[in-house]
Symmetry: C2
């Protein structure tokens, strides 16, 4: 009922009378008042003026499910949203939910992560209420070999969403970082559960520095607020991310990986550059010449030979 | 203390006096009696003769951790064993434990599975106390592409253990079945959790028809008892399986996949045969000519072209 009242307030321009709400939602005036009080506790600024009614003056800067789902155009992604004020890692929660059978498209987000995870066992710094920390459950029909395609697909979707909302270009650094002005603004993580020949589910994780102050971030990082000089609506940005992600996921399902790869290459800051990659098998330097169908990076080394890397840290030289 | 007393009884030929146990384990005679009673409740037949002491006449046919671990020569595999009388699926339990950080080598086994799982979403029929239903947690340093190697490695280890204990040859049908006289005696399942570029953990699952009566099994299946005409010790067989698995796992770590592949080919009933494979991309027929480094099956089709399959059901023609 609380969500329905909120929906009413959002839809109505200006004031809406208690009578109107009462009539349409079949709830007593006292019931309305109680729910309005609850919404206020959540941080909604709701004005109440005698003889005019209620008006939503402002919503809190929180990633509440009903905020993300309000006017969301994605059909599958975000149909279920689970929100935490603070959690160890959204990845762990989403993975557990996926194990227990949660639906494709389920989103787990948090205002704050106490053990935010990055790639290769690293941390993801997750200051409260400033960034987007979310994980999404997908159940693609892919082989384990192909699952890494979803990392690249996500990078494309998040880059496009940032462009749409903030007007800035975020380039993709293989395999999973988004950079603005050569500084890291987002990281994408993929964790999967697979059998020998098929993926059971994939959890995509996103850490995105939105309104984060530079002094709360690691070196060589930036935030969208820092870049644009503006406070960005995290809810709006998540909606665009889910919509772009769903669009590309549908393309992948219909046409396979090639169109994703084409778009990835357009947005990449890695291809065509001289790079140095350090991974467990050692370091190599060369020109990043392309990706293969699994998302591996092809590097032409000093001797002119193309070498493939599936893991490691890329340094642009 | 119960395990220590059991250990004592097992080690001693014939009777051991209560006095002796009391002295060595620093436990009262009443304490010994209480523990012996507990062991009897678990199904151990322990004789007690005045002036001579105790003697272990027989052990129950149960996969108790202390039974599996007694004289087990594997160092890592089986260091931790978790036993259920009945459970939905040992895979699910092991996967949850792995998520929570359980050590490499942890074994989950059950007398009975109510939702035993096979490959491609199928069931594994798991009659109580008759078969081996177990899952093992591994934490290999592999890429997601390479994880399927562990399925093949396990098939090699289980085939060798069956040979050692029962003296019969179980041939491997790609990717995960063991056959005796062309009938299925065991299936191997692998489920992994991975990030884009590295495996976090793998759970290997084994369903093995040991003393199962034919009328409790699906068509085209057999059991070791059926084949050999003898009751087989499940505990002994599990010990051999763990030992062979550890041996091959060590080889994989030291020398990579090639030696495993060589042995797999020796034990295979698939290679060199005309096969028909049905998978989501359709059916193909041809000669099974080899495996690739990821464990995929190479088939030379009618036109003489080599085609690779990572999934599907093989029918030997």
């Amino acid at each position: 009922m609380q969500n329905q009242i909120l929906h009413f307030l959002k839809k109505s321009e200006g004031y809406i009378s208690g009578e109107e709400i009462s009539r349409q939602l079949k709830i007593s005036r006292a019931g309305i008042w109680k729910n309005i009080e609850e919404l206020r506790k959540e941080g909604y600024d709701i004005e109440a003026v005698p003889h005019r009614g209620y008006r939503l003056a402002s919503a809190p800067d929180k990633l509440f499910p009903h905020e993300i789902q309000f006017n969301l155009k994605a059909k599958i992604l975000g149909k279920e949203v689970i929100h935490y004020d603070s959690i160890g890692s959204t990845m762990d929660v989403a993975f557990e939910l996926a194990m227990k059978g949660s639906l494709e498209g389920t989103v787990v987000c948090a205002e704050n992560q106490t053990k935010g995870r990055g790639r290769l066992g690293r941390d993801w710094v997750s200051p409260k209420g400033k960034g987007i920390y979310l994980s999404i459950i997908l159940r693609p029909r892919l082989t384990p070999n192909e699952a890494a395609q979803l990392t690249l697909l996500s990078a494309v979707a998040v880059s496009e969403a940032i462009k749409k909302v903030c007007g800035v270009a975020a380039s993709i650094k293989w395999p999973n970082d988004l950079l603005i002005n050569n500084k890291k603004v987002a990281g994408i993580l993929m964790e999967s559960s697979a059998q020998m020949d098929n993926v059971r589910f994939v959890v995509l994780g996103l850490g995105l520095n939105v309104n984060t102050a530079l002094n709360h971030l690691p070196p060589n990082s930036t935030s969208l607020k820092q870049v644009t000089g503006k406070q960005i609506s995290r809810v709006h940005l998540i909606q665009e991310i889910l919509q772009h992600l769903e669009k590309w996921y549908d393309i992948l399902k219909a046409k396979g990986f090639p169109p994703v790869l084409v778009r990835w290459k357009e947005l990449s800051s890695t291809l065509g550059r001289r790079v140095r990659i350090v991974d467990p098998s050692g370091a190599i330097e060369g020109e990043a010449i392309g990706l293969d169908a699994q998302g591996g990076l092809m590097i032409r080394n000093e001797s002119g030979i193309a070498v493939k890397r599936m893991t490691g840290d890329v340094v642009l030289i």
